[in-house]
């Protein structure tokens, strides 16, 4: 795939009937705050009486996406939408973008620095984990602008 190309996954369902929506923001490079948005999402899902197994899966995708934003992006806007049938998470970052999405989605491929790897990140598991865990997953990226991840988890 050429630099700057975008790649879409399967078509995501519209969240027009969202009964709950909240925005969050993540600051790139802020390791101390890393995980705090995922934690807020977890608390909201609990308050909305979402099933524990679904919360457990939502935490995998939320934390992976949050860490990617902290590790690679300058900033990231997160939108949590909850409808009667699914939990939807969008992570839209301003950052370097991904030149080759196919490669980035390959388990084990990573552009992480040595410092990131020493902290236990950058094993090339993040994006594949998110795709495996979400019921629907899409990624779009523009080099030099940023990457948008959209993930949905169906409410049983």
């Amino acid at each position: 795939m050429p630099p700057g190309a975008t790649s879409k996954g399967i078509v995501l369902s519209e969240s027009v009937d969202a009964r709950f929506r909240k925005l969050f923001s993540i600051e790139g490079g802020n390791f101390q705050a890393a995980g705090s948005v995922s934690k807020q999402i977890k608390m909201i899902l609990k308050q909305l009486s979402i099933d524990n197994d679904l919360i457990w899966r939502a935490m995998i995708v939320a934390y992976e996406a949050e860490m990617n934003a902290v590790l690679y992006a300058r900033s990231c806007e997160v939108t949590l939408s909850v409808s009667t049938h699914c939990v939807s998470l969008q992570f839209k970052d301003r950052g370097p973008g991904i030149p080759d999405i196919g490669l980035a989605m390959t388990e084990g491929y990573s552009t992480a620095t040595r410092e990131m790897r020493e902290r236990g990140f950058g094993a090339g598991l993040g994006l594949p984990n998110m795709k495996k865990t979400a019921d629907r997953f899409s990624i779009e990226s523009v080099v030099g602008e940023g990457t948008t991840l959209q993930m949905e988890l169906d409410i049983p």
């Binding site: 995922s38 934690k39 935490m59 992976e64 902290r119 236990g120 990140f121 094993a123 598991l125 984990n129």
Partner: protein
């Protein structure tokens, strides 16, 4: 077995005794890649790692783990200890390396099977 009894029998150092202290715990996991642990961690699981930075606390908190054991005599960073106290996550340590510690925990009935 309750976590506090495992701590005593396995001779673990206590950096912070969190809300899981009195809870029953019978499941363990070892890993230093945070993506692996976030994907595989289960509720009430004890996590053995050599990572000492503050992000391990978020992983334990998000996955409702019973606690973190820092192996091989590793000490938590100050930020890690602060985070563990703030999140009330049990943070422990052992002089043993991960393999030796697993051997000891299996002897106490902490299994790797979910």
């Amino acid at each position: 077995m309750k976590l506090k009894d495992i701590v005593e029998k396995a001779d673990l150092q206590v950096f912070h005794a969190g809300e899981s202290w009195e809870q029953e715990t019978g499941l363990g996991y070892v890993g230093d890649l945070l993506s692996d642990v976030i994907a595989s961690g289960r509720k009430d699981m004890l996590w053995i790692t050599i990572q000492v930075h503050e992000n391990i606390v978020a992983v334990a908190s998000l996955k409702d783990l019973a606690g973190i054991i820092l192996a091989k005599g590793n000490q938590p960073h100050d930020d890690t200890l602060t985070a563990a106290r703030a999140e009330n996550i049990t943070l422990l340590g052992s002089r043993l390396n991960a393999y030796q510690l697993i051997e000891k925990l299996i002897g106490l009935g902490v299994s790797g099977n979910a």
